[in-house]
Symmetry: C2
């Protein structure tokens, strides 16, 4: 069977219905998103989230050794405030990365402006930036944008969505998720589609609940939340200078159950949406590794498979090319023994005990031509397991990443 | 300036003049390449190299934990013979990988057939395979091809080139290199263009000299030869199940100097040709990392940059997008301090001391539109240095890897 993959196939971004809840649904949260003129397109580019009172919040940030100025400052503020936050100011269109001492001063000025307006300590304000790197912020526009956002703050859902619109860069669609569980509400928004033109983009995620959860509990839950969601997404295996994931609890509702499973579902859905947007992706493939020596080994092996350009082009082409999947497992350092490796694609076993299994290639290719593909790789090294999500790699990835106006 | 990168730009494989010398030039080497019918295309697919006498030879093989049957057997034969070899038999069109016990028996039968004809011990014969994986060899055709190759063995250059033709799979052009130095001749051939359809391809390289060099000396030189050449090439960061690099010395000429520099030049040129062929590549980018904590750290950092799809699409688009290069350095675990990082592209410094340098983007983009691009990344962690080569990633990469007939 010939799998038709035409270069001229037009890219149609997917669309998803809005989620029931957004950040302003969580109680005590006001939001705004305005057009400050940072982006040449004129699209919204300054967003503001304000909590009515100081709110427990934890963050994880990029591990890149060249963190942007706002990342360094937000880390510092969280440490100084002990994880209690009044506001988050975000600009898109400019990452304020690789911008030297002036970049540091600009990030600080953004926080100071918000703190002065709210009458809070500067360390209770966090800042995030995303967009072009190596260019200083147009601070006159940023300041005017912040002032305007302060006047437009609102607890309405529309304001939450205006905030979401203002944090986007090259996203093909808005990304939000929510659920109700454990006696409370859970909502999150994010932006990110890989690292793309004009220079590189960023993953920013803001997730909250209205439950009473202490900063300590959030801090304890955060590593697993991040590992299972945003740290389990591969678009191009290139962490940006600005990646930020903030998690907060407004404390309006009493818990009737464990807050972690619903929070995890929201984070995982947001991460899926990033993979789905992944620079012209046509599908999200979830790669489950089981039976590794440890969960860490499983994560490393799954990531190794997810990062392979050969694997990702095969997924784009709906090609059940198990040789690429199993040989990449063989390349992962964390594999102890490859004996007994089993590879299952869309529920069909294609490789077992060192040899290929008979299967209908045309039917399996057809089964891969969907938005959600599932690849399971089972080892016999131990009990370790992990699940990562990867976007496929097609013509549009090359188009958005190579066709650049210098 | 708009960099024009059209999807419809036709792929024109490069061509290179034949090298002065080939393997049969080295004295005491006969070769053959025949059409055995393993490839559906009918192209040559069984090659044979025979040494007039037992010859010192060392090999490095894939580190993939799923090595193909011929890899395991050649390793075993080299260990048993102490690195003395009479013949190398190669088939293309079928990798004999993931083929179970029958695959092992088939590889052994190939060696046994050659050994019987030459009257040597089976462990003096090595075997390599490349092509489709997970399919057993058509042994009747392979055996007939070996018999025919045995009758066609010749010391003429044309026979050396017939051998080269028989080891190719998806290569867009033949790959050979040679030089004269240190009183002797050096020649090599290889195949490889990344891991591509129908399942995956392989890197095979055969390099020799006519100088007197002991197996011990070859063994000592091999790690650095491999590290600076075939282990410094990135096409898609996916080591195959069959990769093999064999190095021999026919001992016909007395050394008048160090054999290693000319041997290294030949290996490096062959590796460059593989990167140049890299699945529709338009250029080879040499990434030099200097000032790393160690040579190993430098190699890891350079490889991390070379493997980035974002870096490789920028190179395809002639895009002097330094943000992608320096941020990927920031992602490398082996970097101790990023302070003072300098990034030089085609001789132009674009990033120094944590900040961008002014440069003419249009002129630099134009300067990148050549076959050889040079990216230098300088750290201040120590004296470690390394140089790797990477192919760019364009539309044709997606085309050859996604458009697959199942």
């Amino acid at each position: 069977m010939r799998v038709s993959v035409s270069k001229s196939r037009p890219y149609v971004p997917p669309s998803f219905p809005p989620s029931e809840l957004t950040l302003t649904s969580l109680g005590g949260v006001r939001a705004a998103g305005v057009r400050a003129g940072i982006k040449p397109s004129g699209n919204p580019d300054v967003g503001l989230l304000v909590f009515d009172q100081s709110t427990p919040l934890v963050g994880v940030f990029t591990q890149n050794k060249l963190p942007a100025a706002p990342v360094g400052l937000s880390r510092e503020h969280l440490a100084r405030s002990g994880g209690r936050v009044r506001a988050i100011v975000v600009n898109s269109g400019n990452a304020n990365a690789c911008t030297g001492a002036r970049g540091d001063a600009d990030a600080r000025a953004m926080c100071a402006r918000v703190a002065a307006a709210l009458g809070c300590a500067i360390e209770e304000v966090l800042v995030c930036s995303t967009g072009v790197i190596g260019v200083n912020l147009p601070m006159d526009r940023v300041a005017a944008g912040i002032d305007q956002a302060l006047t437009e703050l609102s607890p309405e859902p529309a304001a939450g969505r205006a905030f979401l619109a203002a944090i986007q860069t090259t996203d093909a669609f808005p990304k939000e998720a929510s659920t109700r569980d454990a006696g409370g509400m859970f909502a999150g928004v994010c932006k990110g589609a890989g690292m793309i033109q004009p220079d590189m983009a960023t993953m920013l995620a803001f997730v909250g609940t209205d439950l009473v959860v202490s900063a300590e509990e959030l801090r304890e839950a955060m590593p697993r939340m991040a590992a299972a969601s945003f740290n389990a997404v591969h678009v191009d295996t290139h962490a940006s200078t600005n990646d930020t994931f903030l998690l907060f609890a407004t404390g309006r509702a009493e818990r009737t159950g464990d807050f972690r499973p619903p929070l995890s579902r929201v984070c995982r859905r947001l991460a899926w949406l990033i993979a789905r947007d992944g620079e012209g992706a046509t599908k999200v493939t979830t790669i489950d590794v089981r039976g590794a020596a440890s969960d860490e080994a499983a994560h490393a092996i799954a990531s190794h498979v997810a990062a392979s350009a050969l694997v990702r082009t095969a997924l784009f082409g709906n090609d059940p090319n198990w040789g690429r999947f199993v040989s990449q497992v063989g390349n992962a350092r964390e594999v102890r023994s490859i004996e007994g490796l089993r590879c299952t694609l869309q529920g069909i076993s294609v490789f077992e005990n060192g040899g290929p299994m008979p299967f209908d290639r045309g039917a399996l290719s057809h089964a891969m031509n969907v938005e959600d593909v599932h690849l399971v790789l089972e080892l016999r090294d131990g009990q370790g397991r992990a699940s990562v999500m990867t976007s496929d790699l097609g013509y549009r990835y090359v188009e958005v990443n190579a066709e650049y106006t210098t």
